[in-house]
């Protein structure tokens, strides 16, 4: 399931919903991304995530479908926020549930790496020095590239 939204979300309720009544699930791996309080070494006041409505949902659904082709998943969930966020705020939740723990872990890491590099989100950071658009990092691309070399 894919949700792209401005509002905060409740990880507990989301995880409970994901596994409810499905006793084939042996492991649930999840990742919660939070806004850190530093940006390139300077204190961060806030960040704003811009996205491409319509395309965002489409790409996330494609990525989720790809994960479900690669791993034996019983359930999966991506919640991604946009808009203005402050340090400590939740940005994203990715959760995958499988009979086997390795499949849950790998598919969750796969989805997070893709989200960072392939989903149409752009991050604008506000520090005391002013605002700036974050540039793509080589490390993020390398993390996502791992998955296409297999």
């Amino acid at each position: 399931m894919i949700r792209v939204q401005r509002e905060d979300f409740d990880p507990a309720a989301a995880l409970a919903e994901l596994t409810r009544g499905n006793h084939r699930i042996g492991g649930v791996a999840s990742f919660i991304g939070l806004v850190r309080d530093v940006a390139e070494g300077a204190p961060l006041r806030a960040m704003t995530l811009e996205h491409y409505p319509g395309m965002t949902e489409k790409k996330l659904a494609e990525i989720e479908a790809e994960a479900r082709r690669r791993w034996p998943l019983e359930a999966s969930l991506v919640i991604h926020r946009y808009g203005r966020l402050e340090p400590g705020d939740r940005i994203v939740l990715v959760a995958t549930a499988s009979p086997h723990r390795a499949a849950a872990f790998e598919s969750c890491a796969f989805l997070v790496d893709w989200l960072k590099t392939k989903a149409p989100f752009w991050k604008h950071e506000e520090t005391e020095a002013g605002g700036r658009w974050v540039e793509a990092r080589v490390g993020d691309d390398a993390a996502a590239a791992r998955w296409t070399q297999e």
Binding site: G33, L49, E50, H51, Y52, G54, M55, K58, K59, H80, I91, V92, V112, L115, K116, T117, K118, A119, P120, F121, W122, K123, H124, W133, V134, E135, A136, R137, D140
Partner: protein, 83 residues
């Protein structure tokens, strides 16, 4: 043709969205970008380094050789920095 601009491309071009009617020589993404570069200083500045410009046509990422047609939705944006 509907054009969308995101992040610093939007800021430099000065609009988030516009509807344009490119001339017949604009047949693919590469020729569309060349034509847009000539539309004014904001466009020239935003599109001066095409290595940091990504393009989606009708919600799919495409290479410069991808064709564009009059009914398409074409989005220009920097490399993604999401999550």
């Amino acid at each position: 043709m509907k054009l969308l601009y995101f992040a610093w491309l939007r800021a430099r071009i000065g609009t988030a969205e516009e509807t344009l009617d490119p001339p017949p020589e604009v047949t693919d993404v590469a020729s569309l970008l060349r034509w847009l570069q000539g539309r004014g200083p904001g466009y020239a500045e935003a599109l001066k380094d095409l290595s940091v410009v990504r393009v989606a046509v009708n919600h799919d990422y495409v290479p410069p050789s991808h064709p564009v047609r009059s009914g398409d939705e074409v989005a220009l944006f920097p490399p993604m920095t999401g999550g």
